[in-house]
């Protein structure tokens, strides 16, 4: 059928995660909270994180928000990938994901679920959809003051 070449973009995993995300919601208690958006389309992601007592490791992470299949599936896969990771490890994953969106390498075995997103790199206008949650995560982890209210949005556009 004519839409066949879109199957590379809309992998079954992406459609499934879009339909039934595993990590939708808010963590309790909230240690880090960050909202990200793409102002030109209005998509938003509301990320909440729970950290261990030493504030070094992500114990839990969930997201809420409204967006396209690419944006929401990416957020859902991201949450699985960074849960249990230290903050520096998670930041490395962010880097690596953004690099993959620019055409860089796939993830190795342990995080290979994220490779479902690789097809997005072929659709330049959709890369910002895939990066939205990751961009918000980077802000959440890098902000020097532990933020719990997270009322401000960070824009994922015009940044890279």
């Amino acid at each position: 059928m004519p839409l066949d070449n879109l199957r590379g973009l809309y992998q079954q995993v992406i459609l499934e995660r879009y339909k039934k995300p595993h990590n939708f919601g808010r963590v309790d208690p909230v240690h880090r909270h960050q909202r990200g958006h793409n102002p030109s389309c209005g998509d938003t992601i509301d990320l909440t994180l729970q950290l261990d007592p030493s504030q070094e490791r992500i114990v839990d992470i969930k997201f809420e928000g409204a967006g396209c299949a690419i944006a929401l599936a990416s957020a859902d896969l991201m949450a699985d990938a960074v849960r249990g990771r230290t903050i520096p490890e998670a930041l490395q994953l962010v880097e690596r994901f953004q690099a993959m969106m620019r055409g860089g390498e796939e993830f190795p075995r342990e995080q290979r679920a994220l490779n479902a997103m690789k097809g997005v790199a072929q659709f330049p206008v959709r890369i910002k959809c895939a990066n939205l949650a990751w961009h918000a995560l980077k802000y959440a982890l890098e902000s020097p003051e532990p933020q719990a209210d997270g009322s401000a949005f960070v824009s994922n556009e015009n940044t890279d």
Binding site: P2, Y10, K19, G67
Partner: protein
């Protein structure tokens, strides 16, 4: 590739406008992802006919010089071309005088000009500015600033469940404190056509001024500023076959004369001293610095092009397309259409959402088949919030689109919806 002679254009339903004009638009030859381009994003910007491209090319090759600044031949020719375009635009919207046509970068700048110049100098605490809930951000943000700086209040006309401006509600908002009504003539999201002539008359009864955002009307239907009797009218060249970088503010002469300048610099002055200056008469008072000369020339050519075809003709053609599109789209399960359901009450655009399918995803699927539509909030975030929809998809047509393209769009849309429903069920 000349425009067909005037005589061949008569309102005749057997005659297909698109068939006559398509070859005037070189970009329509393009293939996108292996399919002929179907350009349905005309509300964002239109394509340009060869006549416009050639007018700009000719200007740069043969007449390029700065305007109003030299006595040499080229400067004189450039000035004539620049001012000649102003006269064409004045005739196009039936402005009494070309002096009432001010060149800006786009409609947004035209509205900002009125907000900064007139708004900040004429409005005070407690004054009221009436807008509608369907305004584009360009006709909202400047008034938010004016309100914040002057203490004036913003009031918003609601819409009916059909998606049309609620005239009763509008009437109830008008009072002696109303100083300005700033509304769009055609909604770029709902497609509804607002009764701006009647609205202007009502506003004037209270002594309020009226600014019309004509971005989605001037390119598509006859607009006569004297018949509408508005005080200002703003539109963009790029949505009406002209180039980007040029827009227009029409303003009533006495009003423009009484308004302070907006930007300062060369061209807009009469006499300049170290510590003060006097200003040029309109329109030049509002055109500081070297203007977008080639773009003005291009817009003049666009106006010639559209005038030869006739805006009644363009409007009638778009209505035929949109009637078919509206009818077809409502047959696809899971689609919600925004705005009036009666095609006769609409301009040539339709915004819609598909259950469980995000407009981005839909747009990518359509693009794969060469179809360009808009996905997002179309610079009307508050309206989307008001309608409780996060974002929508929008198809918008123009004179060169065909019924065959509408049918192809409907087929691909149905298929795209099917693709997602199957995957998500």
């Amino acid at each position: 590739m000349a425009v067909s002679p005037l005589s061949s254009f008569k309102l005749d339903h057997s005659f297909d406008l698109a068939a006559q004009v398509r070859s005037d638009f070189p970009i329509l030859q393009r293939q996108i992802n292996g399919h002929p381009l179907i350009y349905f994003d005309n509300a964002a910007t239109s394509q340009k006919p060869l006549a416009v491209l050639q007018a700009m090319d000719h200007y740069y090759r043969h007449c390029n010089a700065n305007v109003h600044r030299g006595v040499h031949t080229l400067s004189n020719e450039a000035t004539d071309a620049y001012e000649g375009a102003r006269e064409k635009i004045a005739r196009f919207v039936n402005a009494p005088s070309p002096q009432e046509i001010i060149y800006t970068r786009n409609a947004s700048e035209a509205i900002n000009l009125v907000a900064y110049s007139w708004g900040l100098s004429h409005l005070e605490r407690g004054d009221e500015i009436v807008l509608s809930v369907m305004e584009h951000h360009s006709n909202l943000i400047p008034w938010q600033w004016v309100a914040q700086r002057t203490g004036a209040h913003l009031k918003f006309i609601q819409i009916t469940p059909e998606g049309e401006l609620d005239l009763e509600h509008y009437r109830s908002l008008l009072n002696d404190r109303t100083r300005l009504v700033a509304v769009t003539q055609v909604s770029n999201m709902l497609g509804s056509i607002n009764p701006v002539q009647e609205m202007t008359e009502l506003a004037h009864r209270y002594g309020a001024k009226v600014l019309l955002d004509a971005c989605q009307s001037v390119p598509h239907m006859p607009v006569d500023v004297q018949a509408l009797n508005c005080d200002w009218l703003a539109f963009s060249g790029h949505k009406m076959c002209g180039p980007t970088g040029i827009g227009v503010l029409y303003g009533r002469r006495e009003l423009l004369r009484a308004m302070p300048p907006f930007l300062g610099g060369g061209e807009m002055i009469a006499d300049v001293y170290w510590d003060h200056a006097t200003y040029a008469d309109i329109p030049h008072k509002f055109e500081a610095g070297t203007p977008a000369i080639a773009q003005a020339v291009g817009l003049g050519a666009a106006v010639d092009y559209l005038s030869q075809i006739g805006l009644e003709q363009v409007h009638a053609h778009e209505q035929r397309l949109i009637a078919r599109l509206l009818d077809g789209i409502q047959r696809i399960a899971g689609i919600t259409v925004y705005g009036p359901k009666d095609p006769a009450r609409r301009a040539g655009l339709v915004s819609f959402s598909v259950e469980a399918v995000h407009p981005h995803d839909l747009s990518t699927l359509l693009d794969e088949q060469g179809i360009a539509i808009r996905a997002g909030h179309h610079c009307t975030q508050p309206l989307h919030r008001y309608l409780r929809v996060q974002s929508t998809a929008r198809a918008s047509v123009y004179l060169y689109n065909t019924l065959a393209e509408v049918d192809c769009f409907l087929d691909v849309l149905a298929e795209a919806v099917e693709f997602f429903s199957a995957a998500l069920s």
